[in-house]
Amino acid sequence: MEFYLIAISISVLIYMLMASGLSLQYGFTGLVNFGYVGFFAIGAYTSGLLSLQGVPLPVSFLAAMLLAGALAYPLGIITLRLGGDYLAIITLGFSETVRILLMKEDWLTRGVHGVPGLPRVFDDWAGVSSGDLTLLLLLLVVNIAVFALIAYLVRSPFGRIIASIRDNEVAVRALGKNPAAFKTRSLMLGSALAGLAGAFQAHYVTFIAPEQFVPLITFYVWIAIIVGGPNRILGIVVGTIILLTFLEGSRFMRDFVGGVSEVQLASVRFFIIGMALICTILYRPNGLFPDKFSKGK
């Protein structure tokens, strides 16, 4: 039971890190990133492959963040000056391209077989899962640091501008400010957080494969941020916990409902994800915990 609790908590915290990054992009800036999992994948593979070359983990984690953030730059520069929803399409294309390259470029990624045997973040020191326990604590510290960073940013003049862009981009231009520059920075920051989450994921599971980075993961993170409230830290925390409770809970559903095949069970999960997206947007656009200024909107 302890092992299970530690495992599920680590998953929650890795998802929460991703949710923070996407929330910075969508909740605070209004950017629609439908390829978030691509940046997660870049982080996982960068750190994973570097660590196998003997690069120390702190360096490979940093590289994961930097590369994921840097790849967001050209996507932002190309699409964000145009306004409209080009970013959603281009990021979706990005994540699918990343996944195909991971599958096909075997010389680098070993293709669909994946890369096993990645080093763990911490070795066990006393009991069997004490390494995971230390990782859990580290993730907790990282998440708190990220929340502090987001809280500082959104209260700063930078945060004011990205919130203004979210509310009315045309008016920001009427003030003589170039929205694309600010949006690109927010996109890069959020994507770097996805890269960091990817590095944690890679060295926690110790195995990476393209099938772990399907578009569905992107929309899991979307569910986490919009159900809770896309621009509230409380919303991110509660949304992620709701998501993981659902994902874990539905695994046990088969034990209670007889005569359902594996495919049907997956379909039901998929259906609930789809319905949650539709219903949240329709009936609770600001999530369960709207900030005081979003109420009644």
Partner: protein
Amino acid sequence: MSLLSVKNLSARFGAFTAFDGVDIELAKGSLTGLIGTNGAGKSTLFSAITGYITPSSGEVKFDGHDMLPLSIEKRVEKGLSRTFQVPREFSRLSVFQNLMAAPPNQAGESLAKLFITPGRVRRQEAELAERADSMLQFLNLARVADTPAGSLSGGQKKLLELGRLLMLEPSCIMLDEPFAGVNPVLVEELSQRIVELNQRGITLLIIEHDLASLSRLVPRLYAMDRGRIIAEGKPSEVLADPRVREAYMGGVI
């Protein structure tokens, strides 16, 4: 001496002509009105002058600079700013934060400076807060400083939008229907503010539907109909012009 000079400006979209051969001259420090019926092309003209749409031909000069090659943002930097017919407030920001968002070149807008020189960012914020506070006093919005801008009345939103522009210290402001949907008490207040701004030396061009408020306010008027300027001069002369009367036939005159 002319601050804004529009020469022979036209905008056509396929078969549709928004406006055609428009000439407008605004002297530095002047206060000018632009009237016309719905669909006369006034707002589209504003959008062409400020860079939101690209005109098909003509010339726009502001303070000696050719404006047409410049982006919206660069035109604002040169001192030419505008409001919108439907106010574009930052609805989920407080009224105070709406004003704080406006001033250019804030240190805290740079991610690097936020972490390297947080002290400087804080000092600049304090200075801006003082300016924003006095702006709230000037516009009589101090009472609602902390409410979200989205919940203001239509008239208050227009005041706020004007205030946001004033935080930029522009030399020329173009107001798109500032009185539309505003209650009479606020119209009076808004008119007073406009006159005060003009006395401070700001050049103003005002699109308006409400001929009565506008003709009392401005010494000079342009009239537009079906994409063309059909009359210009003193309000009394323009309103007496037969072509203007025809355009407004059955209207308020």
